[in-house]
């Protein structure tokens, strides 16, 4: 064996051993997490992996994503080339492309040559983009990105140097099939004496080897760990929309929520390892956008940093060194308490993350810890929580007033067998003066269409949505059980809600409590009534130019995007005008996730920001379909001083205005 091979063998074994050890150190920490079954339905999971990991469906949804797709595939193909390279270095007499049958040899040589230049170009494009015309959320030329892109570029240069040398030397049998290497040989290496050529080849060969192994060992210590984790993370992605939180079992001795890193599920930890730091979630987040300290990317990053800092200690069962929930003074690895309360649970982050990281569920986990284990939360919440427990509504209004609105409408109680639908009015629809108008509009529509419906009256209690999103699972749990029991006792099967929060809670959260209800949001029902001709409209009630705002809990949480748009089109004769951010990319009004009951102390106001966006479309009416959105938009319009010229109407009001 030549001394070169011995040296290489030592380097290779050391590099691989170090890489293996790094991976072991990192990945064994994931096993600290609580269980979460992500192994069922393997077929669908494999499908997702193909589509999202290998097909990069979400990555390419952004203009520059194609570049990443190219790099990703170059990487996969060159994985084969580099395996051959490393093994060939070790066993030159046995492993070499040239030992393959000619056809395969030539084809592979051709492919590797082309793919290498493609990779080099893609890397250059990425570097130029980061340096010159990057979106702020990308983070520009970070050290991490320059290192990795630089390493890949050098790797490709070494590849061409090595092969061009061999071609110039005449030792490459597939030279004819390697256009790029051939070009380099002809352009730069012609006329170089054989001795120097051999030296050059040796230099590039070693450069290639060292850079390759450096790259490998750099991965586990950088954001490029995602090269190893992103594919499995797509495999483990939730198979259903993430629109609810898991139940907690209220048994003595249990811990509630997450206050320490090992209380997350293993998937929560694995998510943190999968973040590519692409910044798409930050770009989508209403809190980040309005200058608040919450940035979903950093939350995920802090979880990773915390795991790395505390994980080994937890494995050894010694005290942790870094709090998971901090006071904002810690640098990296602690999520500040104020950050945790800023999330509106709008789901925009989840919607855009190319590797399906679940951000806000982790935030709610930590809220649960703060509320349930520490009783620590912004002070305005104590009244909210107490009102919920004592009066079963957010405002603490006497339950008897729940039916006040019925003075202006013809209403009958829900009775199984006689009434088809339960109209679950919701607290806002029943108590809030503005939103009662929506309720009344809805009842007019239902009556006009001859729908058979009734209400629970004073017996209705809050669905508990805000409680759950705020982490007060204990009180939510009791209210949910109470509601589900009442629905069963009264024989409720079909429910209409005018609030997307009631809608999602009854439809998705209550399923965990065994309730199989057929829940319709009023937008869906109204659109159906129009389409089936049960609702006759008179196009005269034209609300002017209508711009539509998607509610997070209707759109992203439940995929209802078309129904309200179609209904608007039925009234106005044309589809509503869209804002810059709409449908899946819609921007929250600021009222979700319990934020409705919290002061907005930090940054710009989310509702005003959204109203400004709506005003760009110069609408006469902003159409919403959620009581929180109604309130948030009306407040925002007042803030802008345009409440006189622009109206906020719920879809039900627009449709009711066009009733014959």
């Amino acid at each position: 064996m030549s001394p070169d091979i011995v040296l290489f063998a030592i380097v290779l074994v050391a590099a691989i051993a170090f890489f293996g050890w790094s991976c072991f150190r990192r990945f064994r920490l994931v096993t600290l997490g609580r269980p979460d079954n992500r192994f069922h339905d393997i077929g669908r999971r494999l499908g997702n992996t193909l589509l999202y990991a290998f097909g990069q469906r979400r990555v390419v949804s952004r203009p520059f994503g194609v570049n990443h797709l190219v790099l990703h595939w170059c990487f996969l193909i060159l994985l084969a080339a580099n395996t051959e390279f490393l093994l060939g270095g070790l066993f030159p007499d046995y492993i070499s492309l040239s030992r393959l049958p000619d056809g395969a040899y030539h084809a592979l040589a051709f492919i590797f040559d082309l793919v290498s230049i493609l990779a080099l170009l893609a890397v250059c494009a990425a570097l130029i983009r980061r340096a010159a015309f990057t979106n702020p959320y990308i983070g520009g030329l970070s050290r991490d990105s320059v290192t990795i892109l630089g390493l890949v570029a050098v790797l490709m240069v070494a590849f061409f140097g090595m092969h061009a040398g061999e071609i110039a030397q005449g030792s490459e049998a597939a030279a004819r099939y390697m256009p790029v290497s051939g070009y380099v040989a002809a352009a730069f290496l012609a006329g170089i004496p054989a001795g120097s050529l051999a030296g050059l080849i040796g230099f590039f060969w070693w450069l290639h080897a060292v850079v390759l192994l450096t790259f490998l060992n750099y991965l586990p210590y950088s954001k490029h760990m995602h090269i190893m984790t992103a594919i499995p993370n797509c495999f483990f992605k939730s198979l259903v929309r993430v629109n609810t939180q898991p139940r907690e079992e209220f048994k003595k001795g249990n811990i509630f929520g997450v206050g320490q890193i090992d209380q997350f599920t293993w998937k929560g930890l694995f998510d943190a390892y999968s973040c590519t730091e692409c910044g798409r979630c930050s770009d989508a987040c209403p809190a980040t956008f309005t200058g608040k300290p919450l940035d979903p990317r950093l939350v995920i990053h802090d979880i990773k940093a915390n795991l790395i800092a505390n994980g080994p200690r937890l494995k050894r069962k010694v005290a942790t060194v870094l709090p998971l929930i901090g006071n904002g003074q810690e640098r990296e690895g602690s999520v500040a308490e104020e950050v945790i309360w800023e999330c509106t649970t709008c789901g925009a982050c989840l919607e855009v993350c190319p590797v399906f990281i679940e951000h806000f569920p982790r935030i709610i986990d930590m809220r649960r810890h703060l509320v349930e284990m520490q009783a620590r939360f912004p002070e305005e919440l104590i009244t909210f929580f107490e009102h919920m427990e004592q009066r079963r509504n957010p405002w603490g209004i006497a339950p008897a007033e729940r039916t006040k609105w019925t003075a202006e409408a013809e209403v009958s109680p829900f009775e199984a067998g006689t009434t088809e639908y339960l109209l679950f009015v919701g607290c806002a629809g029943a108590f809030d003066a503005r939103n009662r108008r929506t309720t009344l509009a809805l009842t007019r529509i239902l009556s006009a269409a001859g729908v058979s419906w009734g209400i629970l009256g004073r017996d209705e209690i809050c669905c508990g949505d805000s409680l759950r999103r705020l982490g007060n699972e204990f009180v939510f749990d009791r209210m949910a059980e109470e509601n589900v029991r009442m629905f069963a006792e009264r024989g409720v099967k079909k429910v209409i809600t005018q609030c997307p929060h009631c809608y999602s809670t009854l439809k998705n959260d209550y399923r965990q409590y065994g309730a199989e209800l057929e829940v319709s949001h009023h937008t869906e029902l109204i659109n159906n009534l129009i389409k089936t001709g049960r609702l006759k409209l008179d196009k005269a009630g034209d609300p002017g130019k209508v711009v539509f705002h998607d509610s997070c809990y209707l759109g992203r949480y439940n995929g209802v995007y078309e129904a309200p748009r179609e209904a608007i089109a039925s009234v106005t004769g044309q589809r509503p005008v869209e804002m810059t951010r709409y449908r899946e990319r819609s921007f929250c009004c600021g009222g979700g996730g319990g934020r409705m009951w919290l002061e907005e102390r930090l940054g710009r106001h989310i509702n005003v920001t959204r109203v400004e966006e709506a005003l760009q479309a110069e609408p006469g009416t902003v159409c919403v379909c959620c009581p929180y959105c109604t309130t948030m938009f009306e407040d925002g319009l007042k803030d802008k001083g345009v409440e006189g010229s622009v109206r906020v109407l719920d879809l039900a009001e627009i449709v009711a205005g066009a009733l014959k």
């Binding site: 284990m373 929580f385 339950p399 008897a400």
Partner: protein, 270 residues
């Protein structure tokens, strides 16, 4: 040493209606809550626990379902609870109520020295503010009412210094222990229970003392021991308000009208 917090379970008065015919309260279906003033007394006792290591016992006189309220006190951090419940205690006015509570505290004091008794300023159903002072008088404790801050407590010197909030001024008062302290709602912001504590409270033992245990003279407790009688309950006539201007469409004009009227009535001086 003990801090005894007296709490009362009351009907949620915002949900109580007066029967127009009989003039009595319609209590049916009205949920019970812990008297809001008493939540501040309980909170203050828990803070004394945190500050001075006192053991907190929450006591309450009422029907058996008062247990629910005492469990809430346990969930918030009370170490022990005593429910004073017996048919013969029923129908008590403030005199008879303070009798039973004072005797219960005396019993507690036999086992462990009592440093303070904390009461809410008043209840939302009776509004008399007499039970606290009644307890203090019967037990011969210092009587500190309208307290909005406990400045300092010196357990070895048996002294307490508090701030009393009076109508136009505050005063700092020092008094010997044991003392009965009746706190105002401004004294503190009550805490919120943690779930593990709630769960523990759910099957903790609530000590029941009935009259077999207390052995009080039946003539001094309950209806028989009461000297006040409720003749009639009615909602006071409320002077009808008037609507001035239209604040929604013309807030400026409405504000002017309002200020004008307030000046006219001498309620506002500019």
């Amino acid at each position: 040493m003990l801090a005894v917090a007296c709490v009362k379970q009351v009907p949620d008065t915002t949900q109580v209606k007066v029967d127009p015919v009989t003039g009595t309260l319609i209590r049916e279906g009205v949920p019970f809550i812990i008297n809001p003033f008493d939540t501040h007394a309980l909170e203050e006792s828990l803070r004394l626990k945190d500050r001075y290591g006192l053991r907190v016992v929450a006591i309450s006189m009422g029907p058996p379902n008062t247990e629910v309220t005492l469990r809430k006190a346990l969930a918030l951090g009370a170490d022990d609870t005593v429910l004073l419940s017996d048919r013969v205690f029923g129908g008590a006015d403030t005199l008879a109520t303070s009798m039973v509570l004072a005797e219960a505290i005396r019993r507690l004091a036999r086992e462990e020295e009592v440093a303070v008794v904390l009461c809410g300023r008043q209840t939302i159903d009776g509004d008399t503010a007499q039970v606290g002072p009644g307890i203090a008088t019967r037990l011969g404790y210092s009587q500190l009412t309208l307290v909005d801050r406990i400045e300092e407590m010196d357990l070895s010197a048996k002294q307490v210094r508090v701030r009393r909030k009076l109508r136009t001024r505050s005063e700092i008062v020092a008094a010997p222990l044991p003392a009965m302290i009746a706190v105002t709602r401004e004294a503190n912001r009550p805490r919120y229970p943690r779930v593990p504590m709630r769960l523990a409270a759910e099957d903790a033992v609530v000590t029941l003392w009935d009259n077999q245990e207390m052995k009080l003279d039946e003539e001094t407790v309950g209806l028989k021991g009461s000297t006040t009688q409720v003749r009639r309950i009615f909602s006071p006539e409320r002077a009808k308000g008037e609507i001035l201007g239209d604040g929604l469409s013309n807030p400026e004009e409405a504000a002017q009208l309002l200020v004008g009227r307030l000046i006219e009535k001498g309620l506002l001086n500019l």
